[in-house]
Symmetry: D2
Subunit: 479 residues, 4 copies
């Protein structure tokens, strides 16, 4: 077993990532189970202690139960139905732009990621994969992947398992990775620390999360070009506005609340809040907004009253936080109505006051991710996901899946770009993937049966644009 | 074991009800499982062969597993959070208007019904209960109820079990029912046939379903007053428009489809279709409507193009039927896009062509209630609930739950009304519960924190209305 | 000059009609002016004192200024662009179903009515026409009509002019009407009183307004069959819900208010209120509702808080009344914010407290139909149309125009039906025009490019319907 | 009379501005008339030839008719009702931050600008004003202003009048301006050319339009600091998205079109297009979008099909262009339906093909700003504002008014900032007014009765923000 104490401590300095992972441990049951999940839940043996063989006779993988591969395949098939990534796979397959690429990946392992990995393989790459989060792996999907790819991941890994899996990905005989796809920087960091010689030969790193990218550039030790696929106005906007508009509906999945006529307060009217508010208003809820920023507050002329939480705390049926730290205080929770719902769609796991964990309040788990917090007088407040991010916790397809649907394409494009870039195009720095955005957007359009108009020569000239784009100024992507 | 062949044949003449029940048998897994359900799913012993005792030491019940009572209690607590019925319980509890009432009930057994039953008990009634559908019972809820009420129901009853449970309810020593609450008429019919002497002493029947009421009045043998709580403009409107607007969201629960930008055709622009269309449009779908009736078609000026299904069949991502028989033909399904979704929100189970069940099409169950139907060329169409009613099948809280939320109050009010009515007020006929609608609506208003305005004397006089209502003309309820 | 004192007194017993007309007199300037109106406004000569000749050389008409005919023709052309009535004209023109009909009409004279009248002529009828309201006539349109039809109407008639015009229509040598089209019953009443012998020979009366129909049937002296084209669920619904949804936008025309973020209270959540609320919410206003009826209040789960007016009177920016008498009291007006707007979309002219007409409040007319009512402390409340019906007063195309767009078709159909009905089909009674509704709706559908689906034989049989309709039960129309 | 040929030619190189002004000349009647306008329309005497005296006995102004001052005052009072600018006036009045400022202004002269000018005066400034557009002046408002401010402007100025008015503002004995407020750069340019010595002593220029700012900086001869109040993400967003959402409703004012069920195509899904689409969808229209940019096209998942114009040109009822040059071609116009509407909400005046001005097409003006273009076969297409910008032409309160409502505050703030800035803070360059945006937004919030939440110390620290803002990063304003 690997001892890597020093680094684990170092990681704890990256709060978001570690925070997310640690908190996840308290989840006793995930909602990401697929149809067959119950079959395996009884099996308590650690995957590391099992001997499993896939249909090809290989044992170079480690998943919960390879026999679930068929169920996982169906989940992947569902994901393929919607994936614009398939368009990319079809367009680029004959060119094999990733022929010769040896990619180690460390991401959430879901049906959507599986579509990505299998696309990378279809484009010519060899892949080895592990999970970036100890709880988010869909076991069946991992099993399905393991039939052809070296996957090391299961739901409910221990911290030690987590690093063991990463090491299995990287440290294998006769195979040296030349590309990294990372989400959070753990894989990158591990390779940098443990296998510096391998790391130096990497041609490029594609990194998903802000945390991961920060780590890279702050460390100042970046010796390979990296591409940040997360930071662009457009992607942020799509992820936040559009995805939240869809994923707030998970509130219904979880609590069966009827939206019509309910009084809801959304704390924060940024992109996430805007998405939530739009969906809730559309479904007949009466929505209030709290804001600290006058510009966002003014945008609430979309149709929402801007109030202070205290003004309406006694009336609201639902509080949704889309902001930051301790937006809902214990004092406010004390004044809420019996049966009201509190949940967090925001950026951090600390939006709802931690002081709900006190002896005088009783917690009763009524469903997966749903707790009744019971006051001494019998009042119940329904708390979702223990105050953690709702859209990461409470549904089969939360925000991050939709996000990944888009993300996976950026990741694939970034890998292709970095792998095929001529020497010198990218230095040892962190890059954005800006103009490719339009290409990704256009891949999506096929899914929507959308027909783009082409500029006439005259119009292009009038506008000073190339007929094939890019259509947006640079600053649009770099903001 | 009871043989009741003759009646079963007779029942098969009531297509909706029987059809619904028979089709239900093919459901291999329901989505109505609560948090603990997986624990019991392994248990293959028939409840009829088990010996169970509740906390009071009684064995006068038959449920899947009495040990699940605690989990069921939590579901009931969730339901109580929202139930306007609790208002009624509080208002009428001191009066005990059902003191002396002995009610046999045959309804769906869900958390919402449990709130009703426990309300009836709180108002003074004794109750014995059974399920009106062999598959809709929430086992944990039944267990929770069985701690204090004689309940005979579990999910997955056989036809024989179904009648055995009804008989257990009715045929018990030292207890004769004087009121019936029925949904579909099976209980009523059984009592009429098997226990005519008991039946004659019944003071009133409250019947939920249209089928059940038809049966009663058509038979012409109604010897007790009955009240139909289903047929009123208002209730229809609430159930259809408002509930469908909410329950169409189950489409997302089931398929994880993103609504934004999807092309959806809704077949039928009646109240159900209107509700679906409004919600889908609000969430960013592009919605088309098909209609046969010019008046409904004109109402689509709400914002929807009225098309013939054939015009757009090749483009749509989702078909939702809200009408009648064979609206979507096999020929049309042949022309749909790969990955498109087909589901049924309508009134019957025959809206989608049965010809999908042919050898050349492969069915692959990918989740509970979700099948991929695969054409020889690999095209997949996602069929929900095998074409049966989506809102009865695909969610924890489908339309019928919300409906029951309202319905249970009507049922309670109707029971109170019939039980307390002076001799002669009701004859041996089927009655509606019209004016009480306003009372029920006003009970609900508390839930919405809504404040009614009162007419001034002058205004009441001007309008020719009593200040306390009713505010609607008679025909409003009787339409 | 005609003396008809007795009847005028009698008419004053019909409050709505007379009230509307009398109040209209205080309008100093109408917004119904067309492009050219200013040219004629200087002309103070009474039309009765002018000698005018149309292009055909006839003087059998009396309008403000025949020279405005060209401008009026353009208004009619605009109206024709939208009129589904044109479909009827085209369909029925070859059949000339009104050949031989001699119709006297008394309606609002607007571009839309002009389309009706010219359609009647195209279908074979001879027409003479007058106005049912002393202020609603569009002078240019009347001029355009007068080129081919005997029209007697202008904006700003005196009471005496009003009856003189009616008499000119009826009392003409060598021409006896055999059909009446009336709106309000004034024409009918005049003929009944003054020309009883002509009246007896009338084959049918088509009456638009509720008032007019009441008059007929209450009088008990109806000696000819009459058809009420106003009272049907469908028409009410279209007029109220759909038209109000559009015409509330006139609030912007009149006051330039920005809807986004404004707090609006809509008094009354009937069909009119529902239409207003839907439009305002859609445009970003924050909408509250007041209601007396619990059922309507419950329907506000469409997305509106139900409040008492007093709760929010200090906060709202706009009050819209959609109800009845004195909904907004002087006391409440005293508490409104500076700059708030008050208007009336309801059924009567008395929804806003008359006590605004007191010496301590200053009225300042800032635009046509817009008064600032100024409190002693300088606070201004913006009152529209002096509290009268906004949609009758404040726009070029108010509700009643859209209504008439539909109405004119009903009127035409009713005239055709009555004129061609075999002896005995209609008695001396008031009839509705029920089933034709579907025909009218289908005429409209062409305008919307809507494509109806046809029932298959199998479906028709299943539903028990004729493939060509009617699709609605009788009670749908008769409610 | 002033000859200034050389400069006029130079101006013609600034296409937007000059184009706008020239095109305006063809407007025969504006819709910006206030209540009293008709009184003065007969008066053909040039204001320059009249002798007028205001109530103070001064003749230092030149307007159409000083007697209309009272009517103009009412328009200003209406504008004051809504103006957040009044908040600024109240807050800053005691400080007189503009004491000593001598401002020459050249802007649209409307009720909203009047509120600005009178605010500047209230804050201590002396003002002289002229119009930046020969047709946009509201004569009554100019008259009202002229009672206390030296205003030189009327509707329908000639080119020569235009420069004469500017000169009157600047060239007056005993008064030298020290601040400029300009919209389009004409005033600035004139001063720079004709009065270079005065110009050098100017302390700052506040410029509204992009054109004007370009002129300044491109010329490279900027010898005073200038502030561009137009270019910020936020302002663009408010002006475009929010204002267009409101001003598209003018389509109804102008054409009386019913939105429900109409098929509308919006060309361009930028901010302007998004605003139009949102409003139209909300009102029941069926909206299509055309786009050239895949990112914007993808955002149409808001609920709109992305099509090529040719695909639907035969079906649509309304075309709204929100883009650039020649989006709608003559060929497409040929294929439109009879009665369809074409209008322009975009950025330029050339979006609709100029080839409609041909002999074979007849133009018929049916209302102010509304032409029927008639094809040889009788087909009519309704063209608004001759294809020029709808929201500048077709309503009393078009986009630019709402825009100015916001703009005027920026202008006032920029004037205060520049006038009071310590020496050296601003160089001879063009500045933005970024962070003040939040201050302006917060002034607006009072209008909306919105209550901002304040950050706690802990939260501010967590977020790394000052509790009083700014809350947005710099790039947010500078994009």
């Amino acid at each position: 077993q690997i001892q890597f104490v020093e680094d684990k401590q170092e990681f704890s300095r990256f709060p978001t990532k570690t925070g997310r992972r640690s908190l996840s441990r308290s989840i006793s049951q995930s909602s990401t189970d697929s149809y067959s999940s119950t079959d395996s839940s009884d099996d308590e043996t650690s995957p590391r202690d099992k001997t499993q063989v896939n249909v090809k006779g290989s044992s170079d993988f480690c998943v919960k139960n390879i026999k679930q591969a068929e169920f996982g395949r169906r989940e992947i098939e569902i994901a393929e139905q919607m994936a614009a990534l398939i368009s990319l796979r079809k367009r680029a397959q004959s060119e094999k732009p990733l022929a010769g690429a040896k990619i180690v990946g460390c991401t959430h392992i879901t049906a959507q990621t599986a579509v990505l990995i299998e696309t990378l393989v279809a484009l010519g790459a060899q892949c080895r994969w592990t999970a970036c989060n100890i709880y988010s792996t869909q076991n069946e999907v991992a099993a399905a992947l393991a039939e052809s790819v070296a996957v090391f991941a299961w739901k409910g890994e221990s911290e030690d398992d987590f690093w063991w899996c990463i090491d299995c990905c990287v440290n294998t005989e006769g195979w040296q990775p030349n590309m990294i796809l990372d989400d959070g920087g753990d894989l990158t960091h591990w390779m940098y620390k443990k296998y510096p010689n391998v790391f130096k030969k990497i041609r490029g790193i594609v990194e998903e999360s802000v945390t991961g990218v920060h780590q890279l550039s702050k460390a100042g030790k970046l010796c390979v070009p990296a591409m940040n696929v997360n930071d662009s106005v457009t992607k942020q906007k799509f992820d936040n506005l559009y995805c939240c508009r869809e994923s707030i509906l998970d509130l219904k999945r979880t609590t069966d609340v009827m939206f019509g006529g309910k009084q809801v307060v959304v704390c924060g009217y940024g992109e996430v809040g805007k998405g939530c508010c739009a969906a809730l208003k559309a479904l007949g809820a009466i929505v209030y907004v709290t804001e600290i920023d006058p510009i966002c507050a003014l945008q609430a002329m979309d149709g929402f009253r801007v109030v202070k939480l205290n003004e309406i705390i006694r009336h609201v049926d639902v509080i949704i936080t889309c902001t930051n730290k301790n937006v809902v205080t214990r004092d406010q929770l004390d004044r809420m109505k019996n049966g009201s719902i509190v949940c967090n769609m925001g950026h951090s796991n600390t939006e709802i006051d931690a002081s709900l964990r006190t002896p005088e309040l009783t917690w009763e788990r009524v469903r997966s991710q749903v707790d009744h917090v019971i006051w001494p007088d019998g009042k119940r407040v329904i708390l979702l996901a223990e105050g953690r991010l709702l859209n990461l916790s409470c549904s089969t397809v939360p925000t991050f899946v939709l996000s990944i649907t888009a993300t996976t394409q950026f990741q694939a494009l970034a890998l292709i770009e970095l792998y095929n870039a001529p020497e010198g195009r990218y230095k040892q720095d962190v890059y954005l993937l800006p103009k490719k955005m339009e290409y990704v957007a256009s891949l999506h359009l096929a899914t929507f049966d959308a027909h783009l108009t082409e500029l006439s020569d005259e119009q292009a000239k009038y506008l000073g644009l190339n007929k094939n784009g890019p259509f947006k100024p640079n600053y649009y992507y770099e903001m």
